[in-house]
Amino acid sequence: MELGRRIASRLHDATFDRIAQVGLANAATHRPHIRRSVLELAKLPLGAGDAALVVAAGPSLHRRRSLERLAARGFPGTIVAVDSALAACLRNGVVPHVVVTVDPHDRIVRWFGEPALAAPSADDYFRRQEMDPVHAADEMAANRAVVALVDRDGPRLRVAAATSAAPSVVSRCRAAGMELFWWNPMYDDYERPDSVSRELHRENGLPCLNGGGNVGTASWVLAHAVLGKRRVGIIGMDFGYPPDTPYEKTQYYPELRDMLGERFGEAFVHFENPVLGEKWFTDPAYCWFRDVFLEMAREARCETFNCTEGGVLFGPEIKTVTLEEFLDHG
């Protein structure tokens, strides 16, 4: 088995190690302030019909100009966006019905704009990441623009917030006038008597959502398992990098470099996208997300339409169509 796939096969436990402690601490912090469950979203008029479009923040979102095309074509269904795609949505005049946030780490607040940011971050995460390229050009100017957009549209936005979400993110959402709807991440098998998920549910009464490793997959789960949508399109769900991306510009480059030294390149897994004929590549984390998504898609009571027009997510349970085909017939 390739090195990247071997590492990917171990990320199930690694994710628990990475986020459980801080996620549970964040849940305890939020608990006194929780008012509404994510299940209430299903009762609200969030778009028409039984179709939803999930907006993730992979590089195809920009490469394929998916948001410009969505804004031009229009979509009567429900739009669910991941936090890292929020600013791009608002820049393009797309106001999602629901924004999903999960990550327990404070730096995620940047996706909502940090009003108090006085200098570029010491680490290069936002300058290096592929999710919203505007941060790479001028981190400070990009942040100011996101603050203005989120302040402008915040009162129109609903946030499906995991109890693991960073307190700074929750404070920022509240300050911008967003309405919060809460859920617990499913951390482990709730049928085990010592289950962390079971204990968390006992404490706060919130439903536990199986997140699939990342906020994009969690948003897709929310669209069909919480909102009850039966036809779910996805854009920007690449789980990989375009052929011309330098390894240094990938999400987990510093971690892979620290872990594997000069052999870090062996951790990347290459796929040929069967629709585009392009050779994309993915790192162990995104490879794991891909494998999990395909496993979950087999169990889902919805049709999934991948309108990303790029990336590495393809398989028998996923229909690959253009964005316009989904928008017109979804």
């Binding site: 990475r18 990550d103 549910h201 199986n210 490793g213 990342n214 794991w288 997300f289």
Partner: protein, 61 residues
Amino acid sequence: MTEFLKGNYELKVDIEEKKEDAEASATDEFERKALSRLGGSICFVSKKGFLWTGDGDAAQS
């Protein structure tokens, strides 16, 4: 090893952990820490459905 095996008697000799075992343990710990930096932002629980709303409710999809 000592954390897994416990006796109700005292040994008359000291048993030292093998160097190789200690090194393997250190390597495992290094790998675990390294891998934890690569993990996702939310867990995935296989074969447990999509949503659990408490006892009495089957996992929904």
